[in-house]
Symmetry: D3
Subunit: 259 residues, 6 copies
Amino acid sequence: MAAEGLKALWRDGRTALGAWLFLREPLIAEAASKAGYDYVCIDMQHGLQDYADAVAMLQAVATGPATPMVRVPANEPGIIGRVLDAGALAVVVPLVNSAEEAAAAVAASRYPPAGTRSMGPVGASTRHGADYFGRADELVACIPMIETRQAVERADEILAVPGLDAVYVGPADLSISYGLPPRNDNPGDPFDPALAVVLDACRRHGVVPGVHADPSLAGKRSASGFRMISVGYDLGNVMGGLRRDLASSREAIEGGEAP
Amino acid sequence: MAAEGLKALWRDGRTALGAWLFLREPLIAEAASKAGYDYVCIDMQHGLQDYADAVAMLQAVATGPATPMVRVPANEPGIIGRVLDAGALAVVVPLVNSAEEAAAAVAASRYPPAGTRSMGPVGASTRHGADYFGRADELVACIPMIETRQAVERADEILAVPGLDAVYVGPADLSISYGLPPRNDNPGDPFDPALAVVLDACRRHGVVPGVHADPSLAGKRSASGFRMISVGYDLGNVMGGLRRDLASSREAIEGGEAP
Amino acid sequence: MAAEGLKALWRDGRTALGAWLFLREPLIAEAASKAGYDYVCIDMQHGLQDYADAVAMLQAVATGPATPMVRVPANEPGIIGRVLDAGALAVVVPLVNSAEEAAAAVAASRYPPAGTRSMGPVGASTRHGADYFGRADELVACIPMIETRQAVERADEILAVPGLDAVYVGPADLSISYGLPPRNDNPGDPFDPALAVVLDACRRHGVVPGVHADPSLAGKRSASGFRMISVGYDLGNVMGGLRRDLASSREAIEGGEAP
Amino acid sequence: MAAEGLKALWRDGRTALGAWLFLREPLIAEAASKAGYDYVCIDMQHGLQDYADAVAMLQAVATGPATPMVRVPANEPGIIGRVLDAGALAVVVPLVNSAEEAAAAVAASRYPPAGTRSMGPVGASTRHGADYFGRADELVACIPMIETRQAVERADEILAVPGLDAVYVGPADLSISYGLPPRNDNPGDPFDPALAVVLDACRRHGVVPGVHADPSLAGKRSASGFRMISVGYDLGNVMGGLRRDLASSREAIEGGEAP
Amino acid sequence: MAAEGLKALWRDGRTALGAWLFLREPLIAEAASKAGYDYVCIDMQHGLQDYADAVAMLQAVATGPATPMVRVPANEPGIIGRVLDAGALAVVVPLVNSAEEAAAAVAASRYPPAGTRSMGPVGASTRHGADYFGRADELVACIPMIETRQAVERADEILAVPGLDAVYVGPADLSISYGLPPRNDNPGDPFDPALAVVLDACRRHGVVPGVHADPSLAGKRSASGFRMISVGYDLGNVMGGLRRDLASSREAIEGGEAP
Amino acid sequence: MAAEGLKALWRDGRTALGAWLFLREPLIAEAASKAGYDYVCIDMQHGLQDYADAVAMLQAVATGPATPMVRVPANEPGIIGRVLDAGALAVVVPLVNSAEEAAAAVAASRYPPAGTRSMGPVGASTRHGADYFGRADELVACIPMIETRQAVERADEILAVPGLDAVYVGPADLSISYGLPPRNDNPGDPFDPALAVVLDACRRHGVVPGVHADPSLAGKRSASGFRMISVGYDLGNVMGGLRRDLASSREAIEGGEAP
């Protein structure tokens, strides 16, 4: 891991670009970490990965400089503690719809007195140093997701919860909560104003705004102020690539002259 | 699996396009099988897959119409028998450099009296029918690789071995055995003449010529007579895609105007 | 998966027979799916399967026509979402004892506005089509379990919750909640009246009644009105079979006359 | 498993010594069980083990006489039921801070009428006998953890909950909840009085006091009254041993005379 | 493991009955070991098990008294050594067709000077005692398979190889090598005389004759002199049971009289 | 991996100390790599690791500076190629007893024209750079084992084979081939003269002499000229530690004075 990582990058006012992984392949996590992504997120909510995969992939990310991140399947302290113990330095918590839920995510991510995380960083202290316990709360980023209309409406109180490093907008879930199709972008009303509400609340509370995106949206999201932008995906690339390879090959053959 | 599969397709004089998988992800195998590839090959030689992965991925291929294929790590009867028992309907055998080695590959792929395969198709009879034993030698394609200068020089005797359905040219290994860089194509002498030798021997012996390729080579290889052409890869698509996604996103952001 | 599946079968007024799997073996799931069972249930509550096994077994079920079903270990939205994302088309939710708990099970199984399921059907859209999102709420069956005295007493309010496709009676748990031994059947009072309460409430609310059973009970349960009846088990067959094989062999040997 | 196990040992007034495992290696669990430990605990909270590992390691413990124990990741009935179904005979439940939470742990560990555990002991009845159901509540030890200042303050009401066999003090978490460094021992105030409160409440309520320790603390903890003392760890031994082996070898070589 | 095991049983002139496992489920191996089978064989040739499964299942067998046996995928010293290191006490070696191949199987199974097995019994010494090395050659049974016409014709020279404990007839492979259908029994000529040749050679050379069978053949095979008879199978019981359960349930429902 | 690694260290005339791992735990591999060992060897011959474990552990070693090494289970080109493809930079080949066998080990480890390794370094090029192919023969160390009397007698011709980087003495196997007990040291004749033969042949042929040892032997082996010395073991540390922890705790408790 880079000496500094995601939180240092944010302190410097820079924008983090991330790879988001749905597949259970540590070699992809290693490649993503070495490719220059600022963070690599293992998606235990919608990806195929279970805990053993997350453990392996967190180790794989550690072969390169990216910050190891996990999206947990639910806002539940057991799994948050376990992925942190396994060496995640950032945890994305889905479906945080209230200040109370945001506070629960923070509590699960911090040792006492800031939170209620239990002591036993088996993998984390092997990876991040024997002094991990003393530095953990500083090292670990807690990142609730804002991905429902309800959460947008309560953005101000959610963002006011102490201990949040960033929030992460899930545009597909946000869209369907507004009755829009599940896309990374739904330009216009009510999607754009919802993003603006989150960005504005982040600015006021000193929290980094993040968003699930794709390369075509990177410039736009960055320009509007997001500083944690996921743009690289394993699944889409492999599935899309396999379809394109076949289509272009068929075309080349059928267009081609017979032997 | 399509009622007919790879061997029927070849009997009809058609050309098979394949996906070649290096990663241990059954969901990719399922997607490839459903995407329209004629065969999906699990590469136990250079891929990350071990036997348990092959078992899982062969099952995954069976959710779609593609013919399930395995490249075994070596020309060894134990592993050939095991992947066939697990339901592979085509086996690619690396580094076959003589008629004797080709005959060994055939023997491992066929039940007596045609070969010496041992009885016990635990997965294959679940998948391909309770009558699998009687149809196995007809169902299963045995495909040795021609991938060294030595094999090219002995192409005629190798191709004369009874029981071969196809041979598969490995262009990277073939290239390095001629002192060329390890590429899918090395236009000119001695690479092209070597391919011509294989194609010619295939024609004379009634064996299907196959080749490891990529979409940019599909038309050329098809035009020269190859009828088993691998063009889709999981690894390259995901690794290349992750790099491209990052590069284009960085460019969009750095090119972009500040908020 | 059959073009129609479990919900279509119920719409036609037919009775579904199911296989219920406790072991972590995808080949058994494949065999069960091909054997003619209408559904194959992967039991993550009492079976040995964890999430990775469920992912593999759901894929295995997809090699045949049965509807893929999972019993989740608890009424928790994270795991319900994850098995649906992995391609389950029916989810059995244990220990639902109130309308509120039934509503929670429904909410976790449906996308907004019907529920709160989060978007990201990685496996489901590979398997069930790129248009999965739009059809998901129609495709997916949500099936709470009625398996306590408390649930029976509240059957009417539980069954009134919108969005239930079926309920599933767990007779062993139901029995012990009444102080009876943990059996699939405990003829007489209070077990039979409890079943009757559930059947009656199902009839009034248009919900399919289901029950854990065995072949000896199939006729009886069907005759009383159940239309989702689990009758095939991997574990019992293998454990019982191994004991019988040994006993009959010992007897044959000790009886000992030559044939 | 020894005919009697942990609960019999406690009935005889003896002290149980345990091995506590963080690594996912069933061979270590087997060795620990055979080495003479009274219990072997698989730590699903802070260890690397997930459910599949716990299943394998519980089986491994059963090759020897130790009582198989699991620390679950959270006080959640689903996972408590699953580890018991897999054959655990003792369950350690972390972060129990109130009588209500202790009662929830008990309920999840006991069949009705004592609790709400669901019927389906797939592994447990294979291992512990076909009559497992009738003996389960007697066989299984439910062991909440006392590891926060809050829990100490409520020790009396927690210990008064019916159905507790033992409580287990987590000294590292207890320490940090008092603002002390996360150690197994923090002699003096407020750590020692906290232990005394727990010991005293155990005595009054007839509950066995347990504590996470190490060999250097075994005598001290035993003398003060603890009767369940964990002293053997896989992780520390292997990590410390690898460091020592290298250091002493380097020293021997550098101290050594040249050849 | 029983204090004595398979070899002691043979020394006493008794007949061993075995379970033969094709599935990767340690719980089945445990159940078989406890059910009273004299040996439990993990079939790495035709079963789904790979090495990791064999390691887990050998441990599972050790929870009961049966002798742990493995059929290796090929007569190759690497895998023979590895399954013995993992704790197998008997190794079945397929397709032994000559005295030379039998001697190779023996060499791979014995430490010098009797053979060439390499030292490093990581699992075996944990399980069978710190003194394993000195007792290994006595503990381990080496069991080549006689399963081709060629092997029958050379039975006398194969059986004369020093160090064989038993031979194991594979009737399905033997049948197909004679042009018969792949069955456990093919009464009459040439199958019966082939069995007689093996039995006779065993008698003369003091080697235990074994055979793959099923409960219907147990009496017959025992009466003719076989003393190692496999009769219990996981796969057939579960697959057949699932089909029977469905068929009888459908019949009961369609037959349809109310209870 | 350190910029230079094992071969650079040897070029500088230094002595490499190694960790030797029998357990399947990537976290141990990571810790060993970070602890300062010059190489970390994954033992696929006598350890519990299979190929999937080796893939994971090679990745784990890459989180630190140690050179990743694998002992393959046999001198077979398929497995040698696969561990190199997975990123091993050194391969230890057991039981090399002749120049011909040594040449086979070299051929499997080198690309043409130096050998016959097949092209496809899926993991290695992700980890060691896109230019891996051109540097592979320089990066990879091929290390046959000298571990029988026969090999010692042929040491001169074995060591004369071009392409060997080091040889590795297996003292336990060497001992038993001389009729001595299987120990890391057997001072006196014939063990010491055998080591001297190997050391002398290494000196004359410019090959690095290596040996399996332990911390108590490090000084002695280094003084006699060995420059690759394995001294750290996972298994012994954890097994021995668990026994010591229990013994000292029992003693402390039974000795029993209060603190």
